[in-house]
């Protein structure tokens, strides 16, 4: 295999409240021989909230981020579903609307940049599966996860809207997604089949509608628990934060105790590849996960 190389768009969370996401991503890439070039110039993607306030501004900032991947001549890789959505949606809108692209480029020209549309925007999960390959990952497993029942939680923004993502997510069926299940199996874990795996965690209304958020995250966590999950894994740090941090309040609202470790996808892979505890960063998980090693 020729060396795989990508421009890594970390997003905000991996550099702030989930440092374990960044360290485990880099550790996994390192173990697999994938080169990730950090896009240090990039800004926040707006997380759909900036889009609510000022859609055009959000387009300009996201286009700027993609420009830096284009300058490197690399595909952009994201490690957050919401970053993936907002960046891919920007790309799709600019690539399909020359007038809008011209308006955005008029602004970018003021800082000496031009959005061309030459870099693809892909989530790390699908890069691993499609470019590196499940068989190759299987060969690298040092600590099989066979003692764990793992509930995959896909996260909305990697699978919906399917039309937007299909070209970069292997045509994942948003109603019956399978890629994370396959990845878990490749690490010799037992993937848990449960209804909530493709549902919403409610993160985006957590401030203004915590009851909605708790109901959605709590229901998904309980569904996983009721299907004998030992842990949950998700490719989205926003899902991870919401489901890891808010188990007490969600449990209180739903009238049941909830305790389930929720890992970032790269943390789970790092576990199986035998990365160091420091790299996997389980100490940063709020619901105790340190004894998974």
């Amino acid at each position: 295999m020729s060396q795989l190389k990508y421009a890594l768009y970390t997003g905000c969370t991996a550099r702030e409240s989930t440092p374990e996401l960044l360290s485990s991503t880099m550790a996994v890439a390192n173990k697999l021989g994938i080169e990730l070039v950090l896009l240090d110039e990039a800004s926040c993607c707006g997380a759909s909230h900036l889009q609510d306030f000022d859609d055009f501004l959000a387009l300009v900032l996201n286009a700027r981020n993609i420009c830096y991947a284009e300058k490197l001549g690399l595909d952009m890789v994201t490690i957050c579903n919401t970053c993936q959505l907002n960046t891919a949606m920007t790309k799709e809108r600019l690539d399909s609307d020359p007038e809008l692209k011209a308006k955005v480029n008029e602004k970018l020209a003021e800082v000496g940049l031009e959005y061309k549309g030459t870099s693809r925007v892909r989530h790390f999960q699908y890069v691993l599966i499609e470019d590196y390959g499940l068989d190759n990952i299987r060969e690298k497993v040092q600590v099989p996860l066979s003692h764990f029942n793992i509930a995959p939680f896909y996260g909305c923004h990697n699978i919906r809207p399917s039309e937007l993502h299909h070209e970069v997510n292997g045509g994942e069926n948003p109603y019956v997604p399978t890629s994370l299940d396959n990845l878990i199996e490749a690490l010799e874990g037992n993937s848990v089949d449960y209804e909530s795996k493709n549902k919403c965690c409610g993160f985006h209304v957590d401030l203004q509608a915590p009851k909605t958020s708790n109901a959605l995250s709590g229901t998904a966590l309980l569904d996983a628990i009721d299907n004998n999950a030992d842990l949950m894994v998700t490719p989205c740090p926003l899902c991870q934060l919401n489901m890891d941090l808010k188990q007490d309040s969600a449990g209180k609202q739903l009238g049941r105790d909830i305790e389930l470790p929720v890992l970032h996808l790269p943390q789970m892979i790092a576990l199986a590849l035998g990365c160091t505890a420091e790299e996997i960063g389980l100490k940063y998980n709020v619901t105790k996960a340190t004894d998974l090693i």
Partner: protein, 327 residues
């Protein structure tokens, strides 16, 4: 494939609210041809297997919105959805269910009352003083039409409404169909009730700020209305037209600019403080958990631990020249 036909099993949700205590599923086996629609299969259950099987159908042309159901969890308009496509997607067992099981009256038929109440609540009609003796037509430009065209494709089938997870947990939420209808008329150049409608959609608890952004509605819509895109437009219009009031949700949206200007990144701690104001106290127990896990740094007053984007000046400049909205 050598044959254009496929043998499948349909597992259909059966329930009669008048006589059944609980719903149950019944299996029907049939051979499906490549041109058959889900509506054809519903008809065949009724005509060939069980005359009591009930579902709504009317126009057969994807325009009346009566025949929406869920197949393997996916919202479909029965008269528009090719069956073989779903067999390719889900395999040879198709599960037919009503759009909302808890609203089931009989088999596929549900009580859509909440849908219609919410639809009516956004004034889904043109509000305008119409000259009873007009001397000319009221002509719209192509751009004016383009603004509302796809929103106008809505046939009130309920597919998005009953695919929306918020509808299931917050009975006040207007939902994607009503909000898309609110956009449809608010963005109409002939309409005069825009502000009133925007105020309805700006209410916390029932309006656009309660959308969880899961894109289930975009996925469900059989007419490509893309309701969540219209919801985003309503969000923006609230700021553009000065309807947005300062509250936790609007400050959260606007607060991103404040952070990005300073750091390029979102200041996760500041955005919560800024959006909530004194209300931040309710996050205390979670904040403590995050501090304990080393995820946040409450004493980092100088923001030394905050990441900063390289070429931050570019970001500031782009915000300066591109920002259109204010709170």
């Amino acid at each position: 494939m050598s044959s254009n036909k496929k043998k499948i099993t349909i597992k259909a949700f059966r329930f009669n609210a008048e006589t059944d205590y609980l719903p149950y599923y019944k299996k029907y086996e049939m051979e499906v041809g490549k041109d058959e629609l889900i509506l054809d299969l519903l008809n065949r259950i009724k005509w060939e297997h069980d005359g009591t099987f009930s579902y709504r159908r009317s126009c057969r042309h994807g325009i009346c919105g009566a025949c929406g159901i869920k197949v393997n969890g996916k919202a479909v308009l029965s008269c528009k959805q090719n069956a073989m496509e779903l067999i390719e997607l889900f395999g040879d067992e198709l599960v037919f269910e009503p759009q909302s099981q808890k609203r089931a009256i009989k088999d596929m038929i549900i009580d859509k009352g909440d849908f219609w109440d919410k639809h009516a609540a956004v004034k889904p009609y043109l509000v305008a003083d119409v000259d009873p003796h007009p001397t000319s037509e009221n002509i719209m430009t192509k751009e004016q039409v383009a603004n509302i065209l796809d929103a106008d494709y809505c046939i009130q089938c309920g597919s998005c409404h009953y695919a929306c997870p918020v509808i299931e947990v917050n009975e006040d939420y207007l939902g994607p169909a009503a909000l898309a209808a609110a956009y449809r008329f608010t963005a109409d150049s002939r309409d005069n009730a825009g502000k009133e409608r925007l105020e309805i959609t700006a209410e916390l608890g029932s309006g656009v700020w309660d959308c969880v952004k899961c894109f289930e509605c975009a996925e469900a819509c059989p007419k490509e209305v893309n309701p969540i895109e219209k919801i985003t437009k309503l969000h923006n219009m609230q700021f553009e037209q000065g309807v947005a009031k300062r509250n936790v949700a609007t400050k959260h949206a606007e607060g991103f600019v404040r952070s990005i200007k300073k750091f390029g990144y979102l200041d996760e701690q500041d955005i919560v403080l800024y959006s909530e104001g004194l209300g931040v106290i309710k996050h205390l127990s979670e904040a403590l958990k995050m501090i304990k896990a080393g995820k946040v740094h409450p004493f980092d007053i100088m923001k030394k631990k905050m990441p900063r984007s390289k070429n931050l000046d570019e970001i500031k400049k782009l915000i300066e020249i591109s920002q259109k909205n204010e709170l």
